[in-house]
């Protein structure tokens, strides 16, 4: 049932990704200071925004799970955080490449957005060992939701604290992102943002469909009284 609408969504995602990538390479103007390497901006920033929104969405699903006690929402929360962590790895890698190209170092500590993102990523990376460590399924789902809510509240607070720790002498490349960006760049950026958002949604839907299918297979096996082969779905929530 999670597979419904998956095909049009996938097609839309591929089309949007193609469109945004062609805009990035053939339409958006070259940055005057940074040249070609600035184009990674269209990958890095949308990925980061979508990952952060995904973390917050994971928190919202977790609240729904705690309120309704419906395991479906725990699965949504788990998958949202899971895909966002994967996006997070991509954000850190593209950020490091960009930092190396434009500042000459793989890692720059006085770029508050990058540092905040690393801290948020480190926190969410502990979501997996945290879930693994709790055996009882109901308790695992509840505790994971509590974690997701707490971490969701942590995201904005952390960004504020890191930004305040800056001495504010560092030139902010995108301090005027909205105001200073030429129209073509803005359009390309927005297209990339939509494409990344669609990609995230598609991946979440695929993951949920797979979880739901494997959960159903497990239930059917159990009904047939055959031994269930354990494996990768150990931490993943079964979706009803």
């Amino acid at each position: 049932m999670y597979g419904k609408g998956l095909k049009p969504l996938s097609i839309a995602t591929v089309a949007m990704l193609t469109l945004s990538l062609s805009l990035v390479f053939f339409y958006a103007p070259l940055d005057a200071d940074q040249g070609f390497v600035q184009k990674i901006f269209y990958l890095h920033v949308p990925l980061a925004i979508v990952a952060l929104l995904g973390f917050v969405a994971g928190g919202v699903f977790a609240v729904l799970h705690l309120r309704t006690d419906d395991r479906k929402w725990d699965a949504w929360s788990y998958v949202a955080i899971h895909i966002s962590v994967i996006f997070g790895v991509a954000v850190l890698i593209t950020g490091a490449i960009w930092a190396k190209a434009s500042w000459g170092h793989w890692w720059v500590w006085d770029e508050p957005t990058l540092v905040s993102f690393l801290i948020v990523f480190l926190l969410y990376a502990t979501y997996y060992p945290f879930r693994y460590a709790i055996e009882d399924r109901d308790r695992q789902a509840r505790y994971a939701s509590v974690f997701a809510v707490t971490a969701g509240a942590f995201v904005p607070l952390n960004f504020m604290a890191v930004r305040m720790a800056e001495s504010l002498v560092h030139p902010r490349t995108f301090a005027t992102a909205e105001g200073g960006m030429p129209g073509e760049m803005m359009l390309t950026f927005l297209c990339s943002l939509v494409a990344m958002g669609l990609l995230w949604t598609t991946l979440v839907k695929f993951e949920l469909t797979a979880k739901s299918a494997s959960g159903q297979v497990k239930r059917l096996r159990r009904a047939l009284d055959a031994p269930v082969s354990g494996g990768s779905s150990r931490i993943a929530p079964e979706v009803g």
Partner: protein, 226 residues
């Protein structure tokens, strides 16, 4: 229904009495802190510290010592069946959260009563910054106590409990440490304390305490269900 105040006082008194009788956490925390100071003295090869280095050494040590206390916070409840008793008792469950935060707060204050003077004797040339430091210590303790209680109550019911607390608590404590070291750095600066952005950092600490206090209060009920 037992009034919440009575229940709060009873649980807090129980915790403090059992700590006083068994001395499971506090001596370990204090000893750990002092040993860590010695390690920093040789690791940094400095006999006196000031500014950001002093703030970093002090807060890293206090944070890791606090992790020891957080680890043991709910062990008695788990092993002696205290969780079942609380579930059976006709009290509001968030009282347990409040009482445990208060207990952890007392442990942290006790730890700092030992560790901060020793830090001053070991490393500081000028103790004038210690008086305003009290405000930062108290606000940071409150933040550590709320997140620590939340994490500890979850970790104690898992397989890897001693591993989970440092793993999850340390990233959660990063904003606290940013604010605490940011303020402490200027208080322990060479040539007397200065109050650069002192109020701002206090506000950040207060906001952290408020947010995680509310989050903890809101979600703690779900951790006790069985």
């Amino acid at each position: 229904m037992t009034p919440s105040r009575t229940a709060f006082a009873a649980i807090l008194a129980k915790d403090l009495r059992s700590e006083l009788r068994t001395l499971q956490s506090l001596p370990a925390m204090a000893l750990f802190a002092i040993t860590t100071f010695v390690i920093f003295r040789f690791g940094l090869d400095r006999t006196s510290l000031s500014g950001s280095l002093a703030a970093g050494v002090l807060w890293a040590t206090l944070l890791f010592a606090a992790v020891l206390g957080v680890n043991r916070l709910f062990v008695a409840e788990r092993e002696e069946g205290g969780f079942d008793a609380i579930r059976l008792a006709p009290i509001d469950r968030s009282v347990l959260f409040g009482a445990k935060v208060a207990a952890l707060l007392v442990y942290l204050v006790a730890l700092e009563l030992v560790a901060v003077p020793i830090f001053a004797i070991f490393f500081l040339d000028d103790a004038a910054g210690l008086a305003p430091l009290v405000a930062i210590l108290l606000l940071t303790n409150l933040g550590l106590a709320t997140t620590g209680t939340l994490i500890s109550s979850m970790a104690v019911n898992s397989r890897a409990r001693d591993l989970l607390v440092p793993l999850v608590l340390l990233p959660l404590a990063v904003p606290l440490m940013i604010a605490a070291t940011g303020a402490t750095e200027h208080l322990l600066a060479l040539g007397g304390p200065s109050y650069d952005r002192f109020g701002t950092w206090l506000a950040v600490l207060g906001l952290y305490d408020l947010i995680f206090g509310l989050v903890g209060y809101a979600v703690f009920d779900f951790l006790l269900e069985d």
